[in-house]
Symmetry: C2
Subunit: 463 residues, 2 copies
């Protein structure tokens, strides 16, 4: 991807000189800090920025953007660096704006179930802050990501089946445009029909249209009760059919996760569990005490009808934690499953009716390509991840992994699905956008050109 | 608004000549059909298009758009004509594309809880089609609007507190761009992080970026049980506080509507009811039998704590219909409340913590201006409507109504609210967008210019 873009050496040198004067110790060019700020978990090479600036305010961001705009220098926003598709790579060099120090929770409006935060606030930090007020922020992508980054990539995760994705949980954004102007995309009302939905346009724009410097976020009341459940299935089809029936029945599951056979095997080994080594569903129910009991029982009946076994549910916090242990440890379990390997996480999302077929085909394809890649899925949404366990010094295996990712994306798109349910496009999924959306990508290009005509905002990503 | 825009007389004449040849009887220029297609319910004058074309396919729409693009002639999409802010007015003349004959339900995917429809399908038509499959489409803006129009205005209504707005219920769109290209904004997966959210950009764009010719829509399973409830309150504050507590407690109310004292009085007179003439909440609960009973009881306890009286709930369909009669008849009740008057509906939306204050201030302002305007609100969202009952031949009263609408919008914006929660901008709310969103409106202008450089798509609306 880097080859498409030319480095503006003169502009970068000039801008760096100015910014160094202005930001002092908050301007850094050491190799390790630059490398930490430009990386990817795919096989695309790391592309460090030329400098990292630690912003502490919207004004700081504006200052950086104006200098970079004047000298046509790329700007890449950085939160916690947990994105997976090379979103923070500096494909043409430039300046990484690290917003991790912009981590203040500016207001919590408990009556309105919303809060206003800076972009470097992480989801765990927010939830710790909210707990005493009986509120929580539901989106859980796994990593303790920053809320700015989660908005920029349209993140979701395990709770999305009940609470939606970042597009549903953000009311409005403050953003610095490529020319340094600061806009607010909406007010604090829970809904609005006032003009184009700029909030949703910036959510998922991956820093290519501007830098998010403040977010107004919808919250949820902590439910009176939570219950967790596990159930094993003879095959992926049975598990998926159970999910479909559960959702059709209107059971408001908060989480419904699938682990395939390989992932269960990895979890048994890593977490010293004795789960049947067949596909497993893990669930969480939120509601009143009576409601979570009812939800768990209805689910159990549906699962039993299609051959689900070892169904267990509990409302006890300790036992819930234990049941979810396997899910929380999947990444480490996968790595331990093949010592020395790196995990290349890729995600696709298909209509739920096609999920079993897609997962099964992926399993066959991995066998054909002699790859090991446990599967975990947010199956209520039809979204699943393969963690391809690759020895990165084995060029042939890396090539086969690339072949698999290409095949998986094409297969998902062919099933009316998407090349990314929640990770975003970054560098890794650019090749599939055209196949998925055709001429609609031209509209994206037109919007990008209209808002960022000099292409200084995270160039080489999405479009 | 019309004065801002110049009519392109030569282009219109040429395009009409070509289109008449191509569409035969589906091309109409009679005065009554033109007047029906260019109207408003505000005091802005009716602005009929020069011709109306009844499209039957995406290809028809493409044909019209290409001819109009060549000759730079305005195109205004028309569904059922139930928009409220002059959205279908032809401010600079041109062609109205009526999509009401594009009313086929193309596919229902019950396992995926979605369907694919043409834009002229109305919400009632869709729900009748779905009923046998145990599915429903939840958005109810009151009027039996077309789904294309509902998407174009980002409609919502009584069920939005539980099921969201059109932005939450549309998975993807097919649209004809201003140059005649046809795009699809997404696939059928329930979520995606694949590039800019063009689906949400087109939802609420009011026909200014392209013409929606197909929608993929999320559906819900019909709940096992529904229950309705009513409760009277000594004042609007008590009613609003009950709503806030109910939502904070996580009671998943499906509908929670406020009628103010004037509206209850109007309903009593019109529907021969004997409700206490104080603010009233009407609710609906969806879930299992046990869950709706529990929801109603929790709500009843919360309401009793703040002085709610005459609380009644029922799960019987007949009694539910009776309880909701008042809500369904509000428009007619309001008209009957002042015989001879027209109802000018306006809507704003504020954070729910400010709702009581906003409604009370509106009531005082109406008294000060000697206006009659019953209030109905989707209070779970902080959204409310005033139906200003105006004698349209009384210029002074019309002027006072305009003053009220201006005051109401400024007041809502000052409370971190929006000038329109669900009706859209059209012509009527353009004046308030800048006050609400500042420089963000420049970004809207840039997007409009990038996608529709000749400003042929519903000119004079939004931006």
């Amino acid at each position: 991807m880097a080859t498409e873009l030319m480095r503006n050496e003169a502009g970068i040198a000039t801008a760096l000189g100015i910014l160094k004067q202005q930001f002092g110790e908050r301007f850094q060019t050491g190799a390790s800090v630059r490398e930490q700020h430009g990386h990817t978990t795919t096989w695309i090479e790391n592309q460090p920025p030329d400098a990292v600036i630690f912003a502490q305010s919207t004004d700081d961001v504006t200052t950086v953007v104006k200098v970079c705009a004047t000298h046509k220098v790329p700007i890449i926003a950085f939160g916690t660096g947990t994105s997976l598709e090379g979103h923070v790579n500096a494909a043409a060099g430039g300046v990484s704006i690290d917003v991790s120090q912009m981590n203040q929770i500016l207001a919590v409006h408990s009556e309105d179930l919303d809060c206003v935060v800076q972009p470097g606030v992480t989801r765990k930090q927010l939830n710790e802050h909210l707990r005493d007020q009986g509120l929580f922020f539901p989106i859980d992508p796994g990593a303790n990501a920053s809320l700015g980054g989660m908005a920029a990539t349209r993140a979701s995760g395990t709770n999305a089946v009940r609470y939606g994705t970042m597009k549903d949980c953000v009311l409005s954004l403050k953003a610095v445009l490529p020319d340094g102007r600061v806009i607010r995309t909406g007010q604090r009302a829970r809904k609005s029909s006032a003009g184009y939905d700029l909030t949703r346009l910036f959510i998922g724009s991956e820093g290519t249209l501007g830098i998010i410097t403040e977010l107004t976020i919808r919250l949820q009341g902590i439910p009176e009760a939570m219950a967790s459940a596990t159930c094993s299935f003879p095959n992926v089809e049975a598990a998926c059919n159970t999910v479909i029936s559960t959702i059709q029945m209107g059971v408001p599951v908060a989480r419904i996760e699938l682990l395939d056979e390989a992932q269960v095997r990895a979890c048994n080994a890593y977490s010293k569990l004795e789960l049947p080594e067949t596909p497993l569903l893990l669930l969480e129910f939120h509601g009143s005490k009576a409601s979570v009991a009812e939800q768990a029982e209805i689910f159990g009946e549906i699962a039993a009808d299609v051959g689900g076994t070892n169904f267990a549910w509990t409302a006890s916090p300790e036992e819930r934690t234990k049941l979810w242990q396997a899910r929380h440890d999947v990444y480490w379990a996968a790595l331990a499953y093949r010592p020395g390997a790196s995990a290349v996480a890729t995600d696709v999302c298909v209509p739920i009716s096609r999920l079993a077929e897609c997962v099964s085909a992926a399993t066959s394809k991995m066998a054909e390509l002699d790859l090991i890649a446990p599967i975990v899925g947010h199956v209520g949404d039809g979204n699943f991840h393969t963690s391809i366990l690759v020895m990165k010094d084995d060029a042939d295996e890396v090539a086969r992994a690339e072949t698999f990712v290409g095949w998986l994306n094409e297969t998902a798109i062919g099933m009316e699905g998407t090349c990314t349910g929640e990770h975003g496009v970054g560098q890794g999924k650019r090749a599939y956008l055209q196949a998925e959306l055709g001429d609609a990508t031209d509209v994206m290009v037109a919007i990008k050109a209209a808002i960022d005509p000099d292409n200084i905002m995270n160039p080489g990503k999405i479009v």
